[in-house]
Subunit: 114 residues, 2 copies
């Protein structure tokens, strides 16, 4: 029986905890935007490119979010030896797999929030 | 040219503002869980049924989130005359259209967060 069909004995639906974790991760302030911007590139983006793509996001929050996504295994940080040393961020396989969910949400947004 | 292809002149991707609004709406604490639970039913759910389906959610926050979703047009409140008066919550067409995005995110969560 899949988790969403689990019953608490009185036919009440139960929220899937893994989905819950995922939706709060991607919905964390600015995280969804950062992931969407990284999905637009097959390769990686430099810090300043992400920063320009999401202009209202402060440097402090961008660093924090990128660190969180790296710890989650969604983003990987690539350092190429310089000079000058270049730091770039790309999606891991786990991160890139968010593409269908992001695409569906984008379609929903264009239809209903426009 | 679709919004995600817009360039700021130096080939930097730009985050789609409608998607950004959508992902922060659904990712707001507990909102994604409430929508998922409502998607499991074709009809509507009583307040206590939603509350049981998302057990860690406080009454105050559940009321607040339902009110927000109602204002957004995602949820509709149905009052059936009593006695006793029954209040139930269901998804509007706009809310039900979130199903593909929620399904994809659930699949991602099961694959990567398990």
């Amino acid at each position: 029986m899949p988790p969403e069909a689990k019953s608490s004995g009185d036919d009440t639906p139960v929220c899937c905890p893994l989905y819950h974790e995922a939706v709060e991760m991607i919905g964390r302030r600015w995280t969804g935007a950062i992931v969407e911007v990284l999905l637009q590139r097959h390769g990686s983006l430099r810090y300043t490119e992400i920063s320009h793509a999401v202009p209202q996001l402060s440097d402090r929050l961008l660093s924090e979010r990128l660190k969180e996504l790296e710890q989650r295994g969604v983003v990987e940080r690539e350092v190429s030896p310089g000079p000058p040393v270049q730091v770039a961020y790309g999606l891991t396989d786990m991160g890139r797999s968010l593409e269908p969910a992001v695409r569906e949400l984008k379609e929903w947004a264009r239809r209903w929030l426009n």
